[in-house]
Assembly symmetry: C2
Amino acid sequence: MTEQEIAAVLERAEHLCRGRGARLTQQRRTVLRLLCASDKPLSAYELLDRMRGCIKNPAPPTVYRALDFLLEHGLVHKLESLHAFVGCAHPEHTHAGQFLICSDCGDVSELEDSAVAKSLQAAGKAAGFRMTRPVVELIGTCAHCDGGKQT
Amino acid sequence: MTEQEIAAVLERAEHLCRGRGARLTQQRRTVLRLLCASDKPLSAYELLDRMRGCIKNPAPPTVYRALDFLLEHGLVHKLESLHAFVGCAHPEHTHAGQFLICSDCGDVSELEDSAVAKSLQAAGKAAGFRMTRPVVELIGTCAHCDGGKQT
DNA sequence: TAACGAAACGTTATAAAATAACGCGCATGT
DNA sequence: ACATGCGCGTTATTTTATAACGTTTCGTTA
């Protein structure tokens, strides 16, 4: 994300939290900013390393607490298959996103494909299942890495 | 799974491995059997505990190696969001299954919903993404636990 | 059948990811 | 001012997963 995009995300996050009576503290803001600034998902411990610049003596609970808050408020996503986190590209949206994870270059892109969302919803409903959190991570090779090798 | 179902799974696994020139060793068979016999997903370490009955001094690599083999051959699935494993209900199928995970009772059921599979395939294709492994885990409340509380 | 090479396994150690538990301090409202 | 709850610091521990290296087992081929 560019500096400007990050600023916009922080702005939106601020607004969203204010509206909910939630406190976007310095550390939480820092974690969100670091995630947005990274071009790759970050593990909690990578995040921890990067926090050393801004915060004095961060320990694991510091980063996990911030992540818990941000996850609750839909500002970041956890990629379960990578044990890593990314800033949410669409914080206003519904949080039924899907992730394309390139196992070659490590790039991740977030989709909000309504056909996928609907089919998942339908499949759950058919089983009488009330869905609270869909985890959809497609692991494979991105267009760039696949480059011309495949039709 | 019932004893008979487990026997059938082991039989199929045997056959499948033979056909591929892969060796379904005693330990691998044991891990597969234990997973099938459990009514819940098992973590690697729970599995390790249960192996103590059958195998002398199992250490983590023992169970992880068996799991790697079984995963490669599509005989078990890993539930990324739970750090746990289940026996595959449909070892003959395509391995694009979806999982419904009840966060209330812990029960997991495996689907093979073709509408979901197709929409995922389509979404990936639209992004030029070549998918090798879909991770689809729907977290929520199963019909039983939701029991009457919801329309 | 003896020798070989690959695959499977035993073992010890360590890395990586996540949480428990406890107390302090600060902001918020009464 | 005071009480309450939330956020945070800190230490320790638990849980999950892998590295590294030597030994054994198995199937193949000479």
